[in-house]
Symmetry: C2
Subunit: 458 residues, 2 copies
């Protein structure tokens, strides 16, 4: 390939090829696999991304965009024949507007940096998940990331006010507005959110910020019956009136494993319950909020809604409680090979569904461990399945065991990670022929040459 | 036209034509204008809507869908050559799921009935606006309605979990899921939300419900400086930590008029301030919430953040406070002819922008009154302009006076009502050529014969 094409629009230092690619990675969790690509480009402005795409469009070059590479479903995989555009130098926080409560950012800004910048203005960007130190906002938007506070603040889609993207032909589509309400015709920015880079390249966004909370309370609660978990969710959400921000469920065996590896993740509650819930509330009055939270838990115990509860007594307790839930490596490290899932289904059906899956997975030869945990208030459960080998047959057997009942239940094969390459075969299990046909027509008009993130989703 | 076409898919009583149309209306606020249409059809199921559309597609018949007709921007207007599909018999509430906190409804269910059904299950459908007694959920979804509680709960888009729509060719596209998180490829339901019936006909939806609040507090607050309004918004939002649900701003002259016509809308505060804010908070602990709300207001007065405040002391006070804001007829009745606006712009720019518009509107001959008020926390201001005559020149002059500065400010010509026919000429003032081009390509693949709500938006 003739890289001089790109030299007309980029500096030499922004074009990496040949041996330079060897220190680049395919996947942030598999750093042993070097990047396979024609070249990697490092644009610093939207115009540069636009110029790159004009060249790619003219020359029929397929393009994959790399942000933090934390997607987990193969959304950023390459075959070697693609131009990779890295957003790492698109890393400016352009503005924080404290009155509009917005932040204007380029696509490559890392989530943790957004958190810090917001906090420095007494504001909060509420989106939060384990990969916050690597995930970039462009990728977060392209995958409509969820995480730990969707219950209170919504998914990424709810937090994007303005958006700018570069289309396949290099044209720039910009709607950089700070306003919450804009019903002037179709909300086309929705198309770029959650489409995994297959419809356009997100280059800039205006994020919706919230007033920073002053109090944070957390607790672990033990249950034996799933239906009591659902009743407790309603009880806490109703009584905390907007302050309940997290409601995570961990199945007993996952909790045991998550709390066994070090003192930093020691168990807050004993190992005698079937279900462990981690709840979080964000408020504005530290003293009152703590008392209110505690009284609600005491009442729940008294009324036998819950079996046991332990409340974080300090910020470091809160950190301890969350580390247990967030450090999934404590599960992964324990497995020979791992296969993970990210399903969603209606909240009342989750208990029975997971119980059934534990049973049927245990009957598959080659399955060694099954760990379930997740954002139960969002109907989103993560599964990690440990297995003895990487055979495609075993993978398929496990996939089918997890996915096969979902369609009838109105569930989804991907609550938050997306389809990428890993779940392509299962898309039809949760979307109808009519939906997929419509998606493909949209893809065909927005990316007529199929250059954007080829081979992903469909 | 040969109505027997439709007799193959509907009962005779579901087809209205000729004289039958005379008792039907063009617009709910102009009940003197009878409906002009080829015929009006009254389907009772999604399948009937689908069958109607198959016939219309086959025979190139344009279609306009009529719900509650409260859109205000000509979105449901007809010329006389269209088939009108009324959703009024699609009025079943199919299910309330208290654990999933969802309600499944057909498109013709009226918002107020949704409110009542949710309340009967101790839940809340938070969307709320003046036309709730007429507006139907299908139209609400098609226009992405906003209203009085967007600040806390979001616009309609944020409250729709599942959606079913009939496409131009009669095919049914269904994604009736109760789940909050579904990242399985493109979220195509977003296309039907806010596209004013031009891309498909919404027939069914699954609504996201919230736990019902137990306390409701409200107050009027007086200010002379706009920037203090913004500071107060941040102060209350920060301190109420998720409980602040409404923050409405009324300019002095609008407040005077709104509180002058009867004892039911008597003024809660005297006429001496430049700005009046109506705030609402929804919580779960009546006694504590009232004390907290009061203390916050007292502190604001003490710190001279606000000049005056009066708090509702009873549910009937709350009703009184809201009646003032909601009964816009108290403004309309006062005008010879009215022209209304529904703009949005970044919150910090609103004060100066509106002040400038008051000045320049007053210099237009034929303008008699100018009233501004709106959902300031959402950056959304409504203007009502009273005028002496209906000349197109005067209308245009007023339109330009309101819209001309918006583009540079990152504003929108429609925050919540939509484009319809009334704002078509101004769409380009807030959307780029690239955005409009993309919208038109989407329209062309989803409605290739341009049969759905023809002449609207573009």
């Amino acid at each position: 390939m003739d890289f001089s094409l790109f030299e007309s629009v980029l500096e030499e230092s922004q074009i990496i090829s040949g041996d330079g690619l060897k220190v680049r990675y395919h996947h942030i969790w598999h750093m042993d696999q070097p990047l396979k690509a024609l070249c990697l480009l490092l644009p610093e402005t939207t115009e540069e991304v636009s110029n790159i795409m004009k060249i790619c469009y003219e020359n029929d070059l397929p393009v994959v965009v790399h942000g933090g590479l934390t997607n987990l479903v193969g959304s950023t995989e390459t075959d070697g024949h693609e131009v990779v555009i890295s957003t790492e130098r698109l890393n400016n926080i352009e503005e924080i507007d404290t009155s509009s409560r917005t932040m204007t950012v380029q696509a490559g800004v890392i989530l943790e940096n957004i958190h810090e910048a917001a906090a420095s203005a007494d504001l909060l960007f509420p989106l939060n998940f384990g990969a916050r130190g690597s995930a970039q906002i462009g990728g977060i938007i392209s995958t409509n990331a969820g995480g730990l506070r969707v219950l209170k603040y919504g998914m990424t889609r709810q937090l994007i006010l303005g958006l700018e993207a570069v289309m396949a032909d290099g044209s720039i589509i910009s709607s950089m507005k700070k306003i919450i309400k804009d019903n002037s015709a179709y909300d086309v920015k929705q198309l770029f959110i959650g489409s995994e880079g297959t419809l356009g390249i997100v280059t800039k966004a205006i994020l919706k910020l919230e007033e920073a909370p002053n109090s944070r309370n957390a607790a672990y609660i033990g249950f034996n019956d799933y239906h009591k978990v659902v009743t407790f969710l309603k009880y806490m959400d109703s009584n905390l009136a907007g302050k309940l921000s997290g409601f995570e469920l961990i199945w007993r065996n996952s909790y045991v494993q998550m709390t066994s590896v070090s003192d930093a993740v020691r168990p807050p509650l004993p190992y005698e319950y079937n279900y462990y819930v981690l709840i979080e509330a964000l408020g504005s009055h530290p003293q009152n909020d703590q008392i209110e939270f505690q009284v609600l838990l005491e009442n729940a115990i008294e009324k036998e809604q819950v079996l046991d509860a332990v409340m974080a007594q300090s910020p470091s307790d809160v950190e301890w409680f969350f580390r247990i839930r967030e450090d999934v490596n404590n599960l992964v490290d324990f497995m020979k090979h791992d296969q993970h899932f990210d399903i969603s289904l209606p909240i009342p059906l989750i208990g029975q569904y997971i119980a059934d899956r534990y049973k049927s997975l245990s009957q598959i030869e080659g399955v060694e461990q099954v760990f379930a945990f997740g954002h139960v208030a969002d109907g989103n459960i993560h599964f990690m399945v440990g297995k003895t080998n990487l055979s495609p047959e075993l993978k398929k057997q496990i996939d089918h065991c997890i996915y096969d009942g979902l369609k009838e239940m109105g569930g989804s094969v991907s609550a938050e990670h997306g389809i990428g390459t890993h779940k392509k075969d299962y898309l039809k299990l949760c979307r109808s022929i009519e939906e997929i046909t419509l998606m493909k027509s949209i893809k065909s008009i927005m990316d007529p040459k199929s250059l954007l993130n080829p081979g992903k989703i469909f």
